[in-house]
């Protein structure tokens, strides 16, 4: 249950070593690089190194060669045995492979293009089957012109009205809408006949004049040519395959190495160069320090300085570290936002409360086991992040199924195990043990409220600890979830709770003044009090170890605003101060009520689950034998899917709105290992 400790690393060395250093950083798989420092406005002038794109071009060339010879590249392949280091080395190798395959690839491309063209002509020729004239002679006639093409079927009838015009029309293959045809017209009449046919929707098909013989002969000749081309294509493919066999593995390794080198070039935008030396910094997980040092030692001639981060270093990236049980719930935390580097990782709290609330709201032994099995199956066969969560909530649902005595909606089988039938529990509210969940509804609703109150108080305590740790006095002491808020809320709950539940009146004047009015007054006057505390040396916020501002707390915000000159702190009139304070107090009290009431949904879902299953039991009762079983199965599937899904969303809502809003401080930067930045 923590945010993993990270170490700040400064690396500097000779510019000659930059590629190798960055490549090793990538290889480590655990280096988060920092952006270059902003040196504008200082005397220090450093240039940011940028890539010229030479390796990018080589990657493209490698891909093109691989595609040409039919090699499938893999950028994950081990490439330690590739000894090329400079761009010239790579270029020479790629030139040599290119020389082997270029002529073959060009010929293959040409043949492929010719084959496509011949295939199209062949298919056109098939439409003119039965043409008993030499096509090349027909197309080369000097005094007549022949046009091949197709005409809409409807236009053929119209041609009979043009008997007086000089053309001969020969229909060939007839399709649904068109007829493939040929018309021949004297050269002198060419224009008018073409116009007539065009106006009738004739679409010309060009046939090449090298086609010898009639349509069948020309088609056969084309087929022979295509066979010969295919044979040559196959021979080329064989030769290319030989090249692929001999060079494929090496080409893949070269590609992988080029990718690593290129990615290191991309990283150069984060490196500053000064006085023939490079400088950059980043973070590594502290546990990786030894391995990273070994990697850097391989480079040689570089200086690596490590500095442990302090809790106040807010610019450090965040890595969540949790055990196997809680780890899947990191997904929910990341969905909301990573915690600040100096905050706490809420994953364990989310995991525990999520499982607890889910089980309470959807407790059923049978359905819980089904959900758990579904989760296990999904975990095994998919990589869905939700799958392990489904397993865990399924388990929780099963446990609470025993608590409620519910198995696939049947409330009778485990009735005697049900919590509402234990004398110490039910005797608080009822004289006789309730027969079913509905009779115990008051018990469940009060239980839901108690759970809500406990969770609110717990989150307030967490908030106080976190805020004080971050020296955010406004939130830790005067906030609605700070010490004042905690005292106020706990006192109100205790006062009303004792009065209503136990009949004990503890809210005497002293109680009210000290535990209710005083916290309210402190919340009301928080701004002047914070100002007073600052003037007496109780400064809020802190300076980060790396010199950055930690913008926590009201004062820090005001200070930051002052420093940037964006705007001066607003001076308030007394009237405005009172109005804002009253509204603030009203909102605080209202939030306590609404947040507490919000937990009533836990009880609501317990009842709705029982209600939904009761409906299906009644429907099943209307059928006999198999029909009844089918209804029960369908009902259980529906309730598991429908209610299980809704409860999942509702619990997430409680987590994000009711719990996170009280204690969670986001704003962390995710740890991104530079190896993950490699682009394809």
């Amino acid at each position: 249950m923590a945010i993993e400790k990270v170490t700040l690393v400064y690396i500097e060395g000779s510019l000659r070593k930059i590629s190798k250093t960055l490549a090793k950083c990538c290889e480590s798989g655990a280096f988060h690089i920092n952006p270059p420092p902003d040196t504008s406005g200082t005397d220090f002038t450093a240039k940011i190194m940028k890539d010229k794109g030479v390796y990018e071009r080589m990657i493209k060339r490698t891909k093109a060669i691989a595609e040409s010879v039919g090699v499938k590249l893999d950028d994950k392949v081990q490439h330690d045995d590739i000894e090329y280091n400079t761009s010239t080395d790579f270029k020479d190798y790629l030139d040599s492979v290119d020389n082997m395959q270029k002529d073959l690839a060009d010929e293959k491309l040409r043949l492929s293009s010719e084959l496509r063209s011949k295939s199209a002509i062949y298919h056109n020729l098939l439409r003119f089957q039965g043409l008993d004239a030499d096509i090349s002679e027909l197309l080369s006639c000097r005094y007549v012109k022949a046009r091949f093409g197709r005409i809409p079927n409807g236009s053929i009838r119209k041609l009979s009205f043009y008997d007086d015009r000089m053309f001969f029309f020969y229909p060939f293959e007839k399709k649904e809408n068109f007829t493939w045809c040929l018309y021949i017209t004297p050269t002198d009449e060419k224009n008018s006949t073409d116009y007539l046919f065009n106006s009738l929707g004739f679409e010309r098909t060009e046939l090449p004049d090298y086609l010898k013989g009639n349509s069948d002969q020309a088609a056969n000749k084309l087929l022979e040519e295509m066979d010969s081309d295919l044979e040559r294509m196959n021979a080329i493919e064989e030769e290319l395959k030989k090249i692929a066999d001999s060079e494929g593995a090496k080409l893949s390794k070269v590609y992988a190495k080029l990718k690593v080198i290129n990615s290191s070039y991309e990283l150069r935008t984060n490196v500053t160069a000064f006085d023939n030396k490079f400088h950059f910094s980043g973070y590594i997980p502290s546990r990786e320090k030894k391995r990273f040092s070994e990697l850097m030692a391989d480079v040689g001639d570089v200086t690596v300085t490590y500095r442990e981060t302090t809790p106040d270093d807010t610019s450090a990236p965040v890595i969540l570290k949790n055990n196997r049980l809680f780890r899947p719930f990191e997904m929910f935390v990341k969905m909301y936002g990573l915690p600040a580097a100096n905050g706490i990782d809420p994953t364990p709290i989310v995991a525990i409360t999520y499982m607890l609330l889910y089980g309470m709201m959807f407790g059923d032994v049978g359905q819980g086991i089904c959900i758990m099995l579904l989760g296990l199956l999904l975990t095994k066969f998919t990589k869905a992040g939700l799958a392990p969560i489904i397993t865990r909530i399924g388990f929780s649902s099963t446990v609470f199924g025993f608590v409620y005595g519910s198995v696939f909606g049947n409330e009778e089988l485990l009735k005697d195990f049900a919590i509402f039938r234990f004398p110490p529990i039910y005797s608080l509210f009822y004289k006789e043990p309730p027969e079913d969940v509905f009779q115990a509804s008051t018990l469940f609703l009060i239980m839901a409220l108690i759970v809500g109150i406990v969770l609110i108080l717990l989150t307030m305590i967490i908030n106080i600890i976190v805020s004080l740790k971050m020296r955010d006095l406004e939130s830790g002491i005067f906030g609605a979830s700070g010490i004042c808020g905690f005292v106020l809320y706990a006192s109100l709950i205790a006062g009303f709770g004792c009065s209503l539940a136990l009949g004990i009146q503890i809210m005497n004047p002293l109680y009210v003044v000290c535990l209710i009015v005083l916290p309210l007054a402190l919340i009301f006057f928080k701004e002047p009090l914070l100002h007073l505390m600052e003037t007496h040396g109780l400064k809020q916020g802190t300076r980060a170890a790396n010199g950055g501002n930690v913008n926590t707390g009201l004062k820090a915000k005001l200070a930051a605003m002052n420093e940037s000159g964006a705007s001066a702190p607003e001076k308030k009139s007394v009237g405005m101060f009172i109005i804002e304070g009253v509204i603030d107090l009203f909102e605080t009290c209202l939030t306590y009520v609404t947040n507490t009431m919000s937990y009533l949904r836990i009880g609501g879902f317990i009842l709705s689950h029982a209600g939904l299953m009761l409906v299906f039991s009644i429907i099943a009762g209307m059928f006999d034998g198999v029909g009844s079983i089918i209804v029960l199965i369908v009902g259980n599937i529906f309730v598991t899917g429908f209610e299980g899904f809704i409860v999942g969303i509702q619990v997430l809502r409680l987590e994000f709105y009711e719990l996170f809003s009280r204690y969670f401080k986001s704003g962390g930067i995710p740890f991104k290992s530079v190896s993950a930045n490699i682009k394809a």
């Binding site: 079927n153 409807g154 009205f161 007539l196 065009n198 106006s199 929707g201």
Partner: protein, 338 residues
Amino acid sequence: MANNAVTAKARAVYGKFLTKDDYISLLHKGSISAAVAYLKTKPLYEAIFADTAEMTIHREQAEQLINQNVFDNYLRLCRYAAGDKKGIMSFQVKQTECEQLAKAVIAVSAGSQEGYLRSFPEYMSEHLCFDPLRLAAAKKLPDIADAIKGTMYSRPLEPLLNDPSPDINRIVTMINVCYIKWAFEQTDKTEKGRTRELLKEFILHKTDADNLLMCYRMKKTFSADSAGISELLIPYHRRLRVKDIQDALKMPDPVSALKELFVKVRAAAPEDLAIPEVGVNIADYRYFRHRLAVSTGETESLYSLMMLLRAESVNLCRIIEGLRYGLPPEETEKYLII
């Protein structure tokens, strides 16, 4: 259920109509090929032009495909109509029949039969009650009378077509009368109640427009007298009684009075006298668009859609014609029903 489904489908087809921006884009295409390539990207036209090589397409072929598209779309939609409503399909066929007959008469009288022959809709042949090829082959008006022998047009048109000095306007009017008579009979046969009234209203709506345009053209172009014009009017009306027109024609400034009559048919009176039908067509278009929007019956929605589809095909044919003759886009735009 089927009732609502057909109306919904008709509205869905209308949703695929070209927008004003589409028309502007089409007007600015440099050629018919470019316009057809553009239409190929539009859902209502992609199917009809899919198999066409736009680079070599001819104007008449493009126009014929556009008109065929109207017919195909309408036919497709009518298949969904309830069994007793399938007769609505015949309105489209009959209107086309009358149009072709009128075109053939005008072509013969103008001596331009070849143009008609190339452009007549061959795809409609099997639906028409006469052989359009015989109509296309007609050299004289009596040949047309022979071509339509045995059809509903034969009896009323034969004396006019065989007249040694035929009056083309009267023949065209008579063709329109034939259509209205047929349409009324058809409506009485297949519809009842409010739908019957509405369908007749639709038919007469068009009659008002035709009558008004006829006398406007006759008065402005040929300075015809009141009696001569009255003979050419279709003896049916919705809002525009023949007597109203006659009274208007008798006034000292009959053209201004006729312009007032445009208001009666709820159309904008034309400023450009060369294109008086545009205002009327736009009023028609809006009327049927409104009817389609508020329609609750399939007959109403199908008839409205038919009129709207025809208006769109008219627009496209005008654009194609404008591109063919290199007219400036703004000039063609004046003729569009938008």
